[in-house]
Amino acid sequence: MNPVIALAVAHRVLRQLRRDRRTVALLLLVPCLLLTLLWWMFDRDSLVFDRLGPPLLAMFPFIVMFLVTSVTTLRERSSGTLERLLSMPMAKLDLLLGYALAFGAVAVVQALLAVGLTVGLLGLDVAGPVWALTGVAVFDAVLGTALGLFVSAFAQTEFQAVQFMPVVVIPQILLCGLFVPRAGLPDTLHGLSDVLPLSYAVDAMQRLQGSTGLGGDFWLDLAVIVGYVAATLALGAATLRRRTA
């Protein structure tokens, strides 16, 4: 591992992003617009917005980052630059860390905007500290990035990469406890939701919503998310092949 190279990758990814203003706008504004829509829907019942807001703060960055990362890395694979990089003195993990750092930085901005909007302007009421809300949203966005990096290995085209979203992301949304509390799921599905990372992000958000203190359970949820990020990045590195047929 070489931090200089990982930082160079992150810098390069951000430079590329800077030229693509429309993507930046979509990345930063879409979660805000969706949360505003949600607030408007429950205009008459702010309690529902208080209940749904925090889990969705975890979910939108996750989905958006998953999509953006899987398409970006696929582009790197198909343009020949990935092969070139792998023929150079670069550790595979440096490349993935660079991507995670770059999109993590974008996620920080995205989460600050989304949390600032919902808590500041739309009056979302949570018991826990706002910085913790932001923190979970950032880690969740990085989780989306890590999963997107991994999944892009199984897509040959950008079209396929986008199709992975329903496969990888939607089951997690259905089972994360937003629609049915996880404890109320059939046993098998409950077990399944226990191994899906988004469940822990939503759990953490729900804890922040209900209680003022940051208990051990909150940190445990966060640790699980970080563990998933690390494991997925390692799996992603394993899918990069220096030698191909």
Binding site: V4, I5, A8, V9, H11, R12, R15, Q16, R19, D20, S79, G80, T81, E83, R84, L85, L86, S87, M88, P89, M90, R242, R243, T244, A245
Partner: protein
């Protein structure tokens, strides 16, 4: 040639892609400080052979040694430069941004960047976004990236396609200078008239070598006056020179 040490040693190389044997039992020694031209019609296995030398190709048999170590070895990643046929650079970055990034990866300093830029004659285009450059300029950016690490072995897949004749001559002059400085240059082309600029020629057809000789000897052996006719003579006679 003054320097006659072997830089790339290929022995009984066999590559199978998609169930088809694209390189069959190929052996050759490539010498340091020379320009070795890899010529043959498109689809004959040139790119696969080059990929095997760089170490990015999965091979079915045989060995490829580069600078005394197996091709693709971690220690070679700074010493072997590879330019693919399609320019492998970031289209949404400027020329300089591309070079800055790859320079950081190979650990080259800022002077390497300006040197590489001058070598490929792109000083004036440094601040342009690659996607707005012409095809020829893009492939020169790709070449500049390969030059950053000052490699001992430079593998170039059709580097002069689509370039204007003046620039083509200029690039060949650059290759000659690099070779004179000890760099091993392996360059593929399907334009036979470029062959005469090489010190040595490997003629390929259907995954096998049909000739491995200097241009002068090749023409003499086949009693021809240009490499294209020599190629045809070899194919028609059916026996290697």
């Amino acid at each position: 040639m003054a320097n006659s040490s072997v830089s790339v040693r290929i022995a009984h190389l066999r590559v199978v892609r998609g169930g088809k044997e694209v390189v069959a039992d190929l052996s050759a020694d490539i010498e340091a400080g020379q320009i070795t031209g890899l010529l043959g019609p498109s689809g004959c296995g040139k790119t696969t052979l080059m990929r095997s030398i760089v170490g990015v190709q999965r091979v079915a048999g045989g060995t490829v040694e580069v600078l005394g170590t197996p091709a693709g070895h971690a220690g070679l990643r700074r010493r072997v430069g590879y330019v693919t046929q399609a320019p492998s650079v970031y289209a949404d970055l400027t020329v300089k941004e591309n070079l800055d990034f790859f320079a950081a990866v190979v650990g080259a300093g800022p002077s390497a960047r300006s040197r590489a830029l001058s070598t490929v004659d792109l000083n004036d285009a440094g601040d342009q976004v690659v996607s707005r450059l012409s095809g020829g300029q893009r492939s020169r950016v790709s070449l500049a990236v390969a030059l950053l690490s000052d490699p001992d072995v430079l593998v170039l897949d059709e580097p002069t396609v689509g370039l204007d004749p003046v620039l083509r001559r200029q690039l060949w002059r650059t290759f000659a200078e690099l070779a004179a400085g000890g760099t091993t240059i392996i360059v593929s082309s399907h334009v036979m008239d470029e062959a005469e600029r090489c010190d040595r020629l490997l003629l390929m057809r259907d995954g096998a070598l049909i000739a491995d000789d200097s241009p002068r000897h090749l023409l003499a052996a086949t009693h021809t006056s240009d490499v294209e006719s020599a190629f045809l003579a070899l194919v028609e006679s059916g026996s290697p020179a």
